[in-house]
């Protein structure tokens, strides 16, 4: 009895307006665990695009970030016959099968965020919308080298995602140093990340720079640097933005942030797919949503929408 009541209340509150089925239905599948705040921007931009194009959009992710679970979600999505699938390609080995099957079913697919344009082509996707990670890391590394950096710590909160790890490899290559032991597996827990960074920096006090790979690792790292007095002293760059990162760029703790503009990664595929399904038009090339270096100048718009659309 209790169960029935419970289920009915949830069903009535949680179900979208499934009744109106005139709009196309697009599903975005990400690889992010529930705890990853960076993906809120993607969710918001997806919802915005859905409203503006008058289509139904759904966001799905594996709650622990397990890529094998994500493969099941893509299979499930294909089974529910959407008009298009927008998905990341966090691990080609695991995801190529399900994605290729969706393409073979005749469902148009756009790859966003993770993976490479080449991999996207291999799985039969229409296009790739994202930031080529290695190149972004390389550009950041060259920039840091010009600023006199010779050694660095890479705080990797998603060791399991090889594509994100490419950022560190690119950065090391840009600096012209070996990645070696400078990458730490920080895990996702803020307190753990903070203490691992503190431990690393006290064991290697002559580290020139810190590179974080997203808000998940950047925010605790900011705290760690404020605690050990290195804030503003050590060369600190980060990938991806968030409210705390923007603040830290303002007060000089972070030198620059690399924005891959997730807004575009969620918004543009919906627009592209809608027009593709309705009128059969398709841009002739992939779209690079980033990288853009964000420094202390021109933060106003970013500040206003940080964590929501930026």
């Amino acid at each position: 009895m209790l169960g029935a009541v419970f289920a009915v209340t949830l069903a009535t509150t949680a179900l979208p307006d499934a009744a109106k089925a005139e709009g196309e239905r697009f599903v975005l599948v990400s690889h992010a665990p529930d705890s990853d705040s960076w993906w809120n921007t993607i969710k918001n931009a997806l919802a915005l695009a859905g409203r503006q194009m008058e289509v139904e959009v759904e966001y799905r992710n594996p709650s622990t970030g397990d890529i094998a679970d994500m493969a099941r979600i893509i299979e499930q999505t294909a089974a529910s016959n959407p008009d298009g699938i927008i998905t990341t390609l966090a691990d080609t080995d695991v995801l190529s099968g399900p994605i290729e099957n969706a393409v073979a079913k005749g469902i148009p697919v756009i790859i966003i965020n993770s993976g490479t344009p080449e991999e996207a082509k291999q799985v039969g996707a229409l296009m790739y919308v994202g930031q080529p990670e290695y190149d972004a890391g390389l550009a950041a590394g060259e920039r840091a080298k010009n600023d006199g950096v010779g050694s660095f710590l890479c705080v990797n909160h998603v060791v399991s995602n090889p594509v994100v790890g490419e950022r560190c490899r690119g950065f090391a290559d840009g600096l012209g140093v070996d990645l070696g032991d400078s990458m730490i597996d920080s895990g996702q827990d803020p307190a753990e990340i903070k203490n691992k960074v503190l431990a690393y920096l006290s064991a290697n006090p002559d580290t020139d720079a810190v590179l974080t790979l997203g808000p998940t690792s950047a925010n605790p790292t900011i705290e760690a640097l404020k605690e050990n007095g290195m804030a503003g002293q050590i060369y600190f760059g980060t990938f991806d933005l968030g409210p705390e990162i923007v603040k830290a760029i303002q007060d000089g703790t972070i030198k620059w942030g690399i924005d891959q503009q997730p807004f575009l990664q969620a918004y543009l595929p919906v627009v592209v797919l809608t027009n593709y399904v309705r009128y059969g038009v398709l841009p002739g090339n992939n779209i690079n949503s980033g990288p853009g270096f964000i420094t202390n100048e021109g933060l106003e718009m970013i500040e206003r929408y940080a964590g929501e659309y930026r």
Partner: protein, 378 residues
Amino acid sequence: MADQASTASTPAAARDERVRAQSPFRKALIRPELGAICGVILVFAFFIGIARDSGMFAPEGIINWGVVSAQFAIIAVGACLLMIAGEFDLSVGSMIGFSGIVIALFSVTWGFPLWVGILAAFVLALAIGALNGYLVIKTGLPSFIVTLASLYILRGLTIYAAITTTRKTIIGGIRDVAEGDPVAWLFGGTLFKGLFVWLADLGVIGKFVAGNRAGEPVVDGVPMLIVWALALILFGHFLLTRTKFGNWIFASGGDAQAARYVGVPVNRVKILMFMFSAFCATVFATCQVIEFGSAAADRGLLKEFEAIISVVIGGALLTGGYGSVVGAALGALVFGVVQQGLFFAGVESSLFRVFLGGILLIAVILNTYIRRLITGER
């Protein structure tokens, strides 16, 4: 007993004043898996109600939640028998990651045939399972603590092994080594391909319309994963309900000391069940690695709790000595159908855990009520 000849109307069971008469209907109803049966019916009714036209009950959709449920079932069978024997294994998730990486290291990194890697994974997993059991028996610590330690140790070792040998936490390329491997098919193949092609020709199953698989059915057979799940369920059910060893499992979990007094080899039973739990985790890992062509050090996160949840929905007692494998399998089915069904229904996926917690709570309350009916405890 010669005067019993007239009781032909009540066959087999001779009337005995020491046994309380029960109606056959009540007998059929009162069993540990009743709660899970109700759960399955409720969940299916719910999703048929709200997600009927979403493709959830098309062949493709059925395979989808079927495979997810089968995955839960594989580890739930191991967790179920172990829990009935009165112990926990929290290292299941880590074991999945560990076994996968072992297979990948042996086959991809060191170039052994795939079956050697699979064999190595099973041998290591059984050894670690035995060690878990041995430590629990020897130290007298709760298995919750011992396996919590192995959860961390195994996960750490897995990441360390992957990083130091390949400098990556994901090892791909298993598809290539699986080509033509005799054992690979056992874990990653599909059965009844011909039947599914025939069904597709009849139009029961959709076909691929584009790409290199155009014309093939969208569902090309029953994955071995599901076969493994069914085999393990049957094996576990038979072991528990039809063998002497099954009685030993119940006795070990019910009251270990009393079981020892009547000559049950409690230590052996518990260690074997820890090994079986590790075995199930490795089956899970092997199927996953071969299906997806890569192993990752972080696979299987939180799977131990998903196994335990399935077992509890299936009516087993956390304190041991009571439960059923069929119940655990049904619990896994409820879990899988809910997890995938919410996607089909288009429910905001962050609500999945809310549903799961609710179902868990309702199932336990229902199970407790049913158990009191059966055992007469107050």
